[in-house]
Symmetry: C2
């Protein structure tokens, strides 16, 4: 029976002073998972047992478990042979969390648009060479398909943005490195709220689509330098567009 650490031999209470017990228990279990003392699929002791081990009541244990569940560290099943199990953290789940975190981070720390943009394109350009080297037909198809969608003038701004994200996602996936995909996808989607501030005119869209075309062509030709250049252009154009939006807003503000 591989159980967690016995009551209150807190190695973490030094680093962080856990004001309430449920967070202390959560931290103990969390470190047990992160440090590998509890492995994927292992079943944690039942809530009652944990309550007894830690000398607290069941609701308190439950609060601790919910904290872990919120981080996708455990999943629970009820019924006989139910309980809390160490979860297999999928890229999917990690991705979700990454998006929430990134979104809030950007919106709450008054990160400049250009700073966020710089970070995003720096990372995206980092996968460009890999993508050019490893892209398969399916990735090119996904990119072309999104370009086709974007060319439809009837597409709403929101859908245009979504297609933009999908295009870049395809590029990143072409690098064939799931770790990069996870990191990048989080960053790109986290920027969505910022990107959607921009309202695209037809001319803007044409320009962006042309650059997307260049990127796809470069990936097709396995031309890393060309891909990099196109991404640079896209970055500066995006920042330019955003600056325009800000100017217009300022102007409207003055008119009133």
């Amino acid at each position: 029976m591989p159980t967690a650490t016995p009551p209150r031999s807190g190695p973490d209470s030094d680093a962080t002073p856990h004001p309430d017990r449920s967070s202390g228990i959560a931290a103990a279990l969390r470190s047990a998972i992160v440090e590998g003392r509890l492995l994927v699929g292992d079943r944690l002791p039942s809530e009652s047992e944990l309550a007894e081990q830690y000398g607290v009541s069941r609701p308190t244990v439950r609060e601790a478990l919910k904290r872990l569940a919120a981080q996708a560290l455990i999943r629970t099943r009820r019924g006989a042979s139910g309980g809390a199990f160490v979860n297999h953290l999928s890229f999917e789940a990690a991705h979700e969390q990454q998006i929430t975190t990134s979104t809030l981070l950007l919106s709450m720390n008054d990160i400049g648009f250009d700073v966020a943009c710089e970070a995003r394109y720096a990372m995206e350009r980092a996968c460009a060479p890999l993508a050019c080297a490893r892209r398969e037909a399916s990735h090119l198809n996904r990119m072309r398909a999104e370009i086709a969608r974007q060319s439809d003038p009837a597409l709403g701004d929101e859908d245009f943005c979504a297609s933009d994200v999908a295009f870049h996602r395809a590029l990143v996936d072409a690098a064939g490195n799931p770790v990069l995909s996870y990191q990048l996808a989080g960053a790109v989607e986290g920027m969505q709220p910022l990107m959607s501030m921009i309202t695209y005119t037809a001319r803007d869209r044409a320009r962006i689509i042309a650059l997307h075309g260049q990127i796809a062509d470069a990936a097709h030709a396995r031309d890393a330098a060309g891909c990099d250049a196109a991404l640079r252009d896209l970055q500066s154009y995006t920042i330019e567009l955003h600056a325009t939006v800000l100017e217009q807003r300022a102007a409207r503000g003055l008119n009133r």
Copy 2:
């Protein structure tokens, strides 16, 4: 007596079937925060009020709140004028989460060492040009200081690793983009468990320190290309070292 329905029409229960009510409430509040209906510093209704609003008991509400607290979306204070407040998500807190998530992702999805390494160095090389352009004296000092620490042969493997992380952290910070720092630092620290599998001989360390020196010199000279090349060398050398470790283990395994 309005039983289950939240005040607003619950749109999230369509997308994801919330098996238990506390997770449903958590999702409702979370989306309220992410979508900006609740702003930083806003106080949520008290637990009793929430319990009444959602037609559940206070422990259930508390479980929901603990979920949000685990994601650092809210913080709670007790006493008069206490309550749950929308938290200002700091880079610090986001960073913490990023590390746990990355660590678990790498350990649970049998990501190859080279894949993780590739992702890490790809991103790190992405900030190299920025770091060369913007580095200040303080960054160089931090890098030099870590190199000095690493040169001490008495340093344990663990401390050597930690200093390695600090060195790269300084390089990344030199890029002057907090978003990049946050993303990168998470990735680098998440790789720690993998990196610490390697036991460094004196010759290995000398080689690594030399490369660190090259990187610092390149940053000093604002030589982006040199920095990139040194990082590439470091990446391949790291992978080489890891391969050696695997071979040795395999050999030991056969001998028994």
